[in-house]
Every structure is written in structure tokens, then in C-alpha cells.
Amino acid sequence: MLDALPDYRDPPPDARAHLEQLRQRDTVLRLEDVSRVFTCAEGPLTALEGVRFEVRHREFICVIGASGCGKSTLIRILAGLDAPSSGQVLLDDQPVDLPGADRGMVFQRYTLFPWLTVRDNVTFGLRLKGASAAQVAREADHWLEVIGLGAFADRYPAQLSGGMKQRVAIARALANRPRILLMDEPFGALDAQTRSQMQTHLLDIWHATDVTVFFITHDLDEAVYLADRVVVLAARPGRVEEIIEVPLGRPRNPRSRLDPYFLAARQRLEQLIHP
């Protein structure tokens, strides 16, 4: 049956048009030979070596790889929470140095501020910038509606389910209007059903905003379902093994998971990750 799958490199017309259009867009993020070497007791450990690729405006890019391939190190460097040992990261042609509001991040662990209500969590970044009370209230209402948690505005994070917490975390990052949204295995701690709901939900949010998404996962289905392109990292040292263009059009929905092209792309990733 697997032999009957189409070639993932030969996408159907709608996907081909989408990918073609993507190539025309401006580059938002550019990684130039990013390497990161940790000094350990046993000697230097190379987590990343010469990672080089580009992310285009409004692109949804997924990075997958086995555990220990430096996925988290990579996204932390993009966020400015870690610095490359050599090479550099350019956001809109400006080198990335420290963390900043132009790169929103959603972590795998729940990192909502427990002392703030959902509403105050969402507007945390705006209030840091000193936005006016009216603007803060307006943005809060807007983003609560986008994530569908308006009824939970005055709840504390401890009163929310895991999926809700991550929705608030996404809204909190997006309320800052970042250039790029960095997501480090954001649905890794969720159960399978909530996880697939969140994937569809994330795609809806992404369509509704003009943000570029850089998404780290180790779930092949998640990567194919969400991404325009999937970057496959090889481990020890972490390096780009291959970049796959997903042969699926937009918008996608849960039925896309049964598409022969979905399965074809997934099969290719399987071969790369588990040769």
C-alpha cells in the first residue's frame, strides 16, 4: 500500500502554487552557520553545527529531530535566551542578541504567571511597554476572543486545563505583535485529543494573524499537518539533514491527515528520522 503513495516532491497544483508563492516572500529570519558548543566536564559538546536556513514571511516552519539533536538549543538561540558559539541569527537583517518582544515564545512547560488572571497574562507584554489602560483592555478582549477564552478572563492559570493554558500562552505572545512566534514543543505535555484540537486551533489563529511561526516538535504528524516546510535535524552534532516542502495546500483541516500526500511526506520524514 505504501508503494501506492505519490511522490512527496511532486505536489498537487494547489500546494505547488502555495509553495511557489511562499518562495516569493521576504526572508524574516536567517540562520547563518549557527553553532553552539557547550563546555562540559567531559569536554566540549557540540549541540549545533553550521545550521543554516531561512524562514520567510508568514511561513509556518517546523523543526523536527530525535531528542538530543539540539532543537531546544536552536530555539533558545533564536529567542535570545542563549547565544551561538559562532555564526549568527538575523531577524529582518538585524542580528539577534538578547530576548525581545519581537520574538514571542511559547514554551513546552506552562509558563503563565500564576499571580495574574488570564486577562492580565495576555496583556503582560503590553503593560510592560506602558500601553494605555484603554488599549490594554481592547487588546485583551480581542485576544481572548481569538483564543475563545473570554469566559475565563478572570480565572487564574491554576484553574485552567493544560490546553487552555497553552492557548493563553499563545495569546500572550501574539498580543505583543511579534515578527515571529517561536514555539518549543508547545503541545508536548497535552493528551492526544487536546493536542490535535490545539493544532487545528493554532492554524486558525495563524491564518487570522500575519505572524511567522517557528515550531519545534518531535511528532512527525504534527510537523506535516502544521508546516509549510519541515526542517529535519540530525543529532550529535545537531545539523540540518534535509528540508522538506510539505505537499499540501492551505487551509488544512483534520481530514488533511488522510491525504495521500500527507502520508507520503510523513513517510519520508520517518525514513529520515528512523533510517
Binding site: 518582544a101 520574538r103 504567571f113 503582560f124 510592560l128 476572543e145 478572563a153 491554576a158
Partner: protein
């Protein structure tokens, strides 16, 4: 049929029902009281002495002829005297068994609890008991406030930055081992005889502990929250004011409650240096008059003040930190007031301005579709 499970009093790691908890709390106070009553009211449990009611014929000679009415003597002495009296053919001494003077019965202490407040000071210029207590509370309050004003910021600074930690903590740790009372003489020499040396003893007793405890509490801040705040654009000073401080606040509050307990410990020493004052002076005086019922009453008073104050602070904490306690009424009230204020403001403003600035329409309704 509903199955009611039997209360398992000694189960490991299993919470008790609220009723069982109240029963045990009550028992915690009633059991010691019951033991005290047993020793005081049931004869022959202890009662090692005899209270002499009638000394008998005091003219009868003997080794124990000093026995007099009102004396509290050993049972052995009393028995010997009666043997002497019997040998002389004189009238026997009368008395009843009694506990030592340092163990008054519960009802005596209860009476003293009331009369201590209603009895005028014995010497001219002395203060009433409630004035003594109030004075003690003030010493505690000011000593603690000064310690907190300096200790909390310094502790947070040490917890946040290795620079301050390395600069302060070794020395603070060194002083911490010096018992606060040894500074008593010095404090009197510097501040004179008023309340200042007393306040300074409370300060010394709590400040150095506070710096270290607050620093350790600050270090427990979740690093992930600090990183999240940085990706949201927080600058270093905002990390402290917007993340570190609110995040440690409930624990800080708990630390302060524990440290107030420490302050009470140092109070007794502080009040006895220089000019004796406050509740400790009262206890000292009553002990010299051998009014042990008053001594017990005042010790219990200190305990009660501490207990009641701590319970009040605990309840206040539940309201102040609703995200930990789940007591949400204050939050609801606040958000309702904020919503009211918002409505009030938008009512004042021209409506068009409000609409033109609203965020992009394209995103509306997505959440409701997927949720």
C-alpha cells in the same frame, strides 16, 4: 446505598475530614488542659506539699517547731511535726495536701487572667497590665518594621543577583550566629534607657535571619517565568518588579509570619535590658512577688496574642493571594469594579474613537468556532 468510609486517623499521606481536623485542633488544647486539671484537682496524683491550716500547739518543743499557719511544707516535715506533737500530747497540726506554689490550679490562673487587668498598679508610676501589653506590641512592631524595611529589599537583591549575594551574605551569616541579647549592653550604651535599645534588639534578632531567608525564597523563583517574561520584552528592572516580587510574595508573607514569631522570642530579652518594661517586666515583677498565677496568665496572654495575630495574618494571606488559596471574592470584586470603571470611561468618550481603534476585524469569531 451510599458507602461511608470510616475515618482512618493514622493513615499515611491521607488528609482528614474537616470535622476530624477540628476535633484534633480542639484536642490539641484540651489535652494539656486536662493533664493540668488532673494534677491540680485530683488529690494524690502529685500534691507533694502540705498547706498548714492550723499549726497545732506551737509551744510544744521539737526540731520542727517552726511550723506555722499558712506555711507550705514538705509532707515529710508535716508528718514529723505531728509525731513530735503527739509525743508531747499536744494538739495536732491540721493541713491539706497541696501542689507547689509554682503550679497554680487552672481556675486560679483563669481568675488571675481577669484580675490582672482590673488590679491597679501596686506602685505609683507603674502601668496597668494592658498598657504593658500594648507597649510590648509596639516594641515588636517597630523592631520588625525596621527589620523588614531594610531586610526584605536587601534579601531580594541578594536572591536576584550574585553580586549582592556574595557581597552581603557571608557577613550577614557571620553576625547571624551572634545571639541578639549579647548586643544588649551595647544597645543601651548607644541608645540610652528608652525604647530604642529594645527596638534595636528585636531588629538585630530578626534582620539578619530575614536577609538570608528572603534571599533563599527569592532564589526559588521559577527560571522559566523569568525567561518567559524576557521573551515578552521585560527589561532587567521589570524582571524584578513584575516577575520576581509578585512571584515570591506569598512565600515572603509566610516568611514574615515565621519571623514575627522570632521577634516575640527576642522581646523578653529586649524588655529586660536597661529599664525593664512591657509584659516581661510584669512577669518579672510577679515572679518576685511569687504570684505565679499572674505569671501563667501573662505567659498565656503572649501565646494568645501570637496565635490570634498569626491566624489573622493567615486569613489575610488567603485574601491577598487568591491564586494560591482559591479565595476569589476579592478578584471578582476588583474585576467588577474595573469593568464598571471601563464602562464609565467609555461613556464619557465619543463612541467613534473607540471603534476606529479596535483591532483588525479579520480575526473575529475564530476562537468561538474552534473552542
Amino acid at each position: 446505598m451510599q458507602r461511608t468510609r470510616q475515618v482512618r486517623w493514622f493513615a499515611v499521606g491521607e488528609p482528614l475530614s474537616p470535622r476530624a481536623r477540628s476535633v484534633l485542633t480542639l484536642a490539641a488544647f484540651l489535652l494539656p488542659l486536662a493533664v493540668w486539671c488532673l494534677i491540680s484537682y485530683v488529690p494524690f496524683v502529685w500534691h507533694p506539699l502540705v498547706q498548714v491550716v492550723d499549726a497545732g500547739d506551737t509551744r510544744a518543743p521539737g526540731q520542727y517547731s517552726y511550723l506555722a499557719e499558712g506555711q507550705l511544707v514538705d509532707r515529710e516535715v508535716f508528718a514529723q511535726r505531728n509525731l513530735e506533737l503527739a509525743a508531747a500530747g499536744a494538739e495536732l497540726a491540721q493541713g491539706f495536701r497541696s501542689n507547689p506554689i509554682y503550679l497554680p490550679a487552672p481556675h486560679e490562673v483563669a481568675t488571675a487572667f481577669v484580675t490582672a487587668f482590673t488590679t491597679a498598679p501596686s506602685r505609683h508610676g507603674d502601668v496597668w497590665l494592658h498598657e504593658s501589653l500594648w507597649h510590648s506590641c509596639q516594641i515588636i512592631f517597630w523592631g520588625f518594621v525596621y527589620a523588614a524595611l531594610l531586610g526584605v529589599p536587601l534579601g531580594i537583591a541578594c536572591g536576584c543577583s550574585s553580586f549582592f549575594s556574595r557581597l552581603c551574605e557571608p557577613f550577614v551569616d557571620f553576625i547571624r550566629y551572634m545571639p541578639a541579647p549579647v548586643f544588649g549592653a551595647l544597645a543601651v550604651a548607644i541608645f540610652g534607657l528608652g525604647d530604642e535599645p529594645k527596638v534595636s534588639i528585636i531588629f538585630i534578632g530578626t534582620f539578619f535571619q530575614m536577609v538570608l531567608i528572603v534571599a533563599n525564597t527569592t532564589r526559588l523563583v521559577d527560571m522559566a517565568l523569568l525567561e518567559a517574561a524576557q521573551t515578552l520584552g521585560a527589561r532587567p528592572h521589570q524582571l524584578v518588579t513584575r516577575v520576581v516580587v509578585p512571584s515570591i510574595l506569598p512565600n515572603l508573607y509566610r516568611d514574615m509570619r515565621i519571623l514575627i514569631g522570632w521577634a516575640w522570642t527576642y522581646l523578653v530579652v529586649a524588655e529586660l535590658i536597661g529599664e525593664k518594661s512591657g509584659i516581661s517586666a510584669f512577669i518579672y515583677q510577679q515572679q518576685r512577688y511569687r504570684h505565679f498565677d499572674n505569671v501563667y496568665a501573662s505567659i498565656i496572654m503572649i501565646g494568645l496574642i501570637g496565635l490570634v495575630a498569626d491566624q489573622c495574618l493567615a486569613q489575610l494571606g488567603r485574601v491577598l493571594f487568591p491564586w494560591e488559596s482559591g479565595a476569589l471574592w476579592l478578584t471578582r470584586l476588583r474585576s467588577r469594579m474595573a469593568a464598571g470603571a471601563q464602562r464609565f470611561r467609555s461613556g464619557l468618550r465619543p463612541r467613534g474613537l473607540h471603534l476606529s481603534a479596535s483591532p483588525s476585524k479579520a480575526t473575529e469569531g475564530i476562537g468561538s468556532k474552534v473552542a
